[in-house]
Symmetry: C2
Subunit: 308 residues, 2 copies
């Protein structure tokens, strides 16, 4: 384990912020292995999810990407759906990818969007335990079932030094269907934020930020500012930067001044980093150049947007 890595029991927000501040940018590398998009260099002849060779090729592809990001990124976010569609072999692939990212000193946010109650939620929250095969530093969670569906996750976060990101305002057009409904003078997503506030304060670390964070889509800059008012210490996980079209300045709308520039969350990009222009090739050097260029572009854009 590199000496730069804090002990595993340390507070999630403290561990994350230490890395983000040291790198000087909040980029999160999203690991969404869309099978049809994987470049020729890493494909086999039949990349269907049910083909027994597919999962292993996904591992090779993602581990090759991870190696281009060593020392460049604080955190990665595997999207569980793309692994789950391959069944048990997909979960074996996910375990390998998580293990490799951990070796490369990256934190893991498991983008699972789980949400259930009681012992079922506890079973999902087990992914935060060091002995779990999916051992992750944080997990994403749905709010619809209410406070008692969030508690098993925050409890596991406190036990294991992990984190939780609850969906508050998402980046898709349909987000407005329910999240923007006005209930008693407040929109639904504001109610969700207020529901989380006490736990969010309880989970603050020595860096000032909380291990209970929220998902806030990059397109909703005014909503991000409103959520920041309601949850001054919640880390934002911001999807929608890059392929989904939002620019870096919009993505950090909910960030606030910190010791080394604006901070307060991580900004995820998946497709723009995994499948950039020029990367659909079977030539290794060409592929590496395309991946590195996309990485440096995203980092530079976020550095510029968060500069103090």
């Amino acid at each position: 384990m590199p000496s730069s890595q804090p002990p595993r029991s340390a507070h999630f927000a403290d561990r994350l912020l230490a890395r983000v501040r040291s790198l000087g940018h909040p980029l999160c590398l999203g690991l969404d292995p869309h099978l049809p998009l994987i470049p020729p260099l890493f494909r086999h002849e039949n990349m269907e999810p049910h083909h027994p060779a597919t999962a292993e090729h996904v591992v090779r592809f993602l581990c090759a990407v991870l190696e281009r990001y060593e020392g460049h990124v604080a955190v990665v976010k595997p999207q569980v759906a793309f692994f789950e569609q391959m069944g048990a072999s997909g979960f074996a692939a996910l375990e390998k990818v998580i293990a490799r990212a951990r070796e490369l000193d990256m934190l893991i946010v498991l983008d699972a969007k789980r949400g259930d109650i009681d012992s079922t939620a506890q079973a999902y929250a087990h992914s935060l335990a060091p002995e779990s095969p999916l051992h992750s530093d944080a997990i994403t969670v749905h709010p619809y079932l209410g406070r008692d569906s969030i508690e098993p996750f925050t409890h596991a976060a406190e036990t294991y030094g992990g984190g939780v990101f609850v969906l508050v305002k998402t980046s898709n057009p349909g987000a407005a269907d329910l999240q923007d409904l006005t209930c008693g003078g407040r929109r639904l997503f504001e109610h969700v934020a207020r529901m989380l506030a006490p736990s969010c304060e309880r989970l603050r670390g020595s860096c000032g930020w909380s291990s209970l964070g929220v998902v806030v889509g990059a397109h909703h800059t005014e909503d991000a500012i409103r959520i920041r008012q309601l949850l001054p210490h919640a880390l934002f996980l911001v999807p929608g930067f890059g392929a989904q079209g939002a620019d870096a300045r919009a993505a950090v709308a909910g960030f606030v001044p910190g010791p080394s520039g604006r901070e307060g969350g991580i900004v995820n990009s998946s497709r723009a980093l995994l499948f950039p222009p020029g990367s659909h090739t079977d030539d290794l050097a060409t592929w590496e150049r395309a991946i590195d260029e996309a990485r440096d572009r995203a980092i530079e854009a976020l550095r510029a947007a968060t500069r103090g």
Copy 2:
């Protein structure tokens, strides 16, 4: 494949209703393998989720239960969380349990409570495809991300003859935190029901019921009646019967008169069927008697509650 089983491409609600009507009750067997509760007969010395032998013991336990239900139940509902906590070996166990239930002519509702957007939701919906290793007849889904997060699931349901159950009103105390908020004169769960109505009508089968159903907790009888008004053709998946304390009559509050008694959904029981009194034993005959008695009690209670 037994001759009683309609072709796999048939409409989900039609397939389900044919079985429920023929058996004369709506019981759904919930497969929630709580590791600490598994009886001595099926345990090994260390039933932690990360122990490599645990998943195989879970398979033996659940397959033994499934065999006691052959010919007795239309549908089973595996709770993915309890498998996922075991990682890849847990998904391998889930694949085996699903395959065994299918051999025994039971339909599978995958209780995954997934919810995401675009291609990610499509990847989760892949579990409805016959070639998926997790091939299920229906899946449970979160509504918080809105209409466009439901569509990939209803689209897969239409393609494969599968079903979708969207969480509308859940059985936990925290359900009230968001689901009961009043937004423009209607509670949030009513907004969710109204959002689903057009798709629900589109997915109706020849039995009259829709393959787009809803989850409605057994304790909320008035809310169940309200949701039935808003969604006259949605099948209800009712959790909370049995161990969670609701009685059979409350569980079928949203059902309506049908050709052979009151119908309109399935009523799930997990813990009361998997871990009934007298089943914590290492004697096979004693265990079988306890499982059979719990099964017959639940079926009789639901038959009485749905009698025409």
